[in-house]
Subunit: 436 residues, 2 copies
């Protein structure tokens, strides 16, 4: 039974080598994709609902491979500051005051922002991860929630066990859009023994580990001093990559690190906006791609971005590495679009679930309206999406078969209420500085 | 007589030191700004029309300091290619086939794109500049049109005289939104003698010169070999800066060049999107700003960007120099917003006309709607505009006192016709490759 047919669209399946379907049909059966292909070969179907996508392009829902969603509440709260001052004087003291209610509404706000911008799945690491999970369930987005396990806390092992309980319970409940992970924060905040415990749990539960790796030059220098090897090499040594791992950033990686990351199939979340804004540096993305590493795109949190816009991240990934390497052929548009869809899904271990339009996968779909002055004429659809399109060009966002956002409106969420609640939480959190 | 009052808005005048007006009023009298300030001090006025800008921020119209507008027709036509191959195999052969009709509709398309994105003024250099001028008049935007004077053409001096005639005639006609310039393309395409002639005409007519300077490393190397000095130093030597000059790019400039640019008050159009995409390099923007140079933001043409979105350029200017200099305090948001407004206007010699909200200046105004998930909460309005806002957040664009775009619609232009005509011209131009 076809619950939804999308017709008359240009379709980009993002399946390797599949090219562009000029007049395509996508059929959805429940939460799953049925037929994808040329209209004239589509099976007859008496679809419950039809979307006429004439003048639009249909592509897999975008996947945000790394964020801290509820940091929307701190959007623009502290910019243009040195990193340590930013963390110590602004971010950390504010995070200490966070409540579960704050995280829920901050995550709801972020989920709506992402759904408006065609993002159907996000990978999160944050405090009060149950609240983020609830926000994902309520907003209709797909999520990979994890906590922020900080090894220096006196109760770190308890926190790990709580996280493991959360993963077990979530897997038992089997929510079709929730894919829990374990989130040890970073090698410089977690001792090796704790990371090794996390690996054991991750393997036992068959869930990935979400961690920050090699974000700053300082982190690499400290690792060399402490362990005589880079963060990546050290993680290889202690067995982290025995688990499926999503490593956020990987900015400061050398040729040996790149070889390890590619060989071990480590998922990498490239966050160009955050790397630029925090002055972390330029990831050697062209080398990583050449080595066959699995690289997805992420926004990082709103305190260092300051939005959750994967179209911006696509533009940045597509152009800053050309500028930095002085090679205008570096990181072509096709590779960038893969990083926002299929490769981001693979980086999260969700390659069988989402990231392409293929029969049998979950129906996570973004429809982009091309009938706008800044998207015409269309000479090359992939170039258009990467270099010219914006989040606001999204006409429809479908997650797990449900139309969540369509033509400017959410189908099941009161957007005005979410914005108002998030404003209220932000005002409480930072002491009345936030304006309406 | 107040023709239009904007009320209940947060107002950023962009006047040095003026700060944020939390509940402001802007009065417009014909094509001129009357009152700007706090609501409780506004003179009583029986305005013909009132815009309630509650929940919005009102700021000066954005100024695009460098583009080649009709290149919208080549958007996405040739990407991810080495520069010479891109020019020789794709751009130049296509430009040879351009007609006046092509340029008109390409420029119309670009004008609508910019007006939708809050841009009220643009500085253009392109073939068939009369067509671009006509498109500016018809679309309602403010323009600084100039030709592309290529000194190696056999009739270069005739072309210069034609350009001079165009400037004279345009000045005589006195259209309130058209500010013509002279456009010698670059030092490497124009002999010194032709540039010196252009300077004489520019001084005589009291119009600025629009030129490309120091865009690539190769250009600097060639100049050093030919003249024993950098392009900037050589332009100083031959007297170019005796005229008011807008120099696009200025990527490869050393400390001596920066001193010259600042001392001579040369307007600089920084085009970070184009510089990254074409792999031209990183402008030393932090140094230029420190030296007091007048730097505006530009998009460059759509073949190297691939849109005309000053919000994207703001984001890029605000973050890539942090990444490149490894200093997260480099190029703060306030400086970026100045580069898109007041400093861009100054760079074009239009500082008395546009770029700030002040009584007596022309009413070029952009109203941004903040009531969106990605623009809430608001902790810092300037951060929000530079790091989080997008072109689509523009609710209203006013040029020379006229509401040109409001709530998704153009008041006097048939947008669908413009898009259709531009599609048709693009199809003819590149041989049927363009899709609808």
């Amino acid at each position: 039974m076809v619950s939804l047919r999308i017709e008359n669209a240009i379709v980009l399946t993002m399946v390797e080598g599949a090219g562009v379907i000029e007049r395509g049909v996508v059929d959805i059966e429940g939460n799953t994709i049925g037929y994808v292909g040329e209209a004239d070969q589509a099976p007859p179907a008496d679809a419950e609902r039809v979307i006429d996508a004439r003048g639009c392009v249909v592509l897999p829902g975008l996947v945000n491979a790394h964020t801290h969603l509820a940091m929307t509440l701190m959007r623009g709260f502290a910019d243009d500051m040195p990193l340590q001052k930013w963390l110590e004087e602004k971010i950390w003291p504010t995070e200490l005051r966070l409540t579960e209610e704050d995280v829920y509404w901050g995550a709801m706000l972020g989920a709506l922002e992402m759904l408006r911008g065609g993002v159907t799945c996000f990978n999160d690491m944050y405090h009060f991860y149950e609240a983020t999970t609830r926000a994902a369930m309520d907003s209709g987005i797909r999520a990979c929630p994890s906590g922020v396990l900080l090894g220096f806390l006196p109760n770190a092992e308890d926190l790990l066990r709580q996280a493991v309980e959360f993963v077990k319970q979530t897997l038992d409940e089997g929510h079709p859009r929730i894919h829990p992970m374990l989130g040890p924060h970073a090698p410089y905040t977690c001792p090796d023994s704790l990371l090794q415990q996390a690996v054991e749990y991750a393997q036992e539960l068959n869930v990935p580990i979400h961690i920050h790796l090699a974000e700053t030059d300082q982190e690499v220098r400290d690792s060399l001093q402490a362990h005589g090897e880079s963060p990546i090499a050290h993680m290889e040594s202690i067995g982290l990559f025995e688990a499926q791992v999503l490593a956020a950033h990987c900015v400061h990686v050398d040729d040996n690190d790149i070889e390890i990351l590619a060989r071990r199939g480590v998922g990498i979340a490239h966050c160009p906006g955050s790397n630029m804004k925090l002055a972390s540096g330029f990831q050697p993305l062209p080398k990583l791609l050449k080595a066959g590493a699995v690289v997805g795109l992420g926004t990082d949190g709103c305190a260092s971005n300051n939005n959750l816009d994967l179209f911006e991240e696509m533009l940045l990934a597509g152009i800053i590495h050309k500028g930095y390497s002085t090679d205008p052929t570096a990181v072509p548009a096709e590779a960038v679009l893969r990083m926002a869809t299929v490769d981001a899904a693979r980086s999260l271990g969700l390659g069988a679930v989402t990231g392409t339009l293929e029969a049998g996968k979950r129906a996570d779909i973004t429809i982009i309206d091309l009938q706008k002055p800044h998207l015409q004429p269309v000479h090359n659809i992939v170039s258009q999406l990467v270099y010219a399109a914006r989040a606001d060009d999204v006409r429809t966002t479908i997650v797990d078969g449900e139309i969540v956002f369509h033509e400017g409106r959410f189908t099941a969420v009161d957007e005005a209420e979410v914005v108002a609640k998030a404003q209220e939480r932000a005002r409480k959190l930072v002491g009345g500085q936030a304006k309406g």
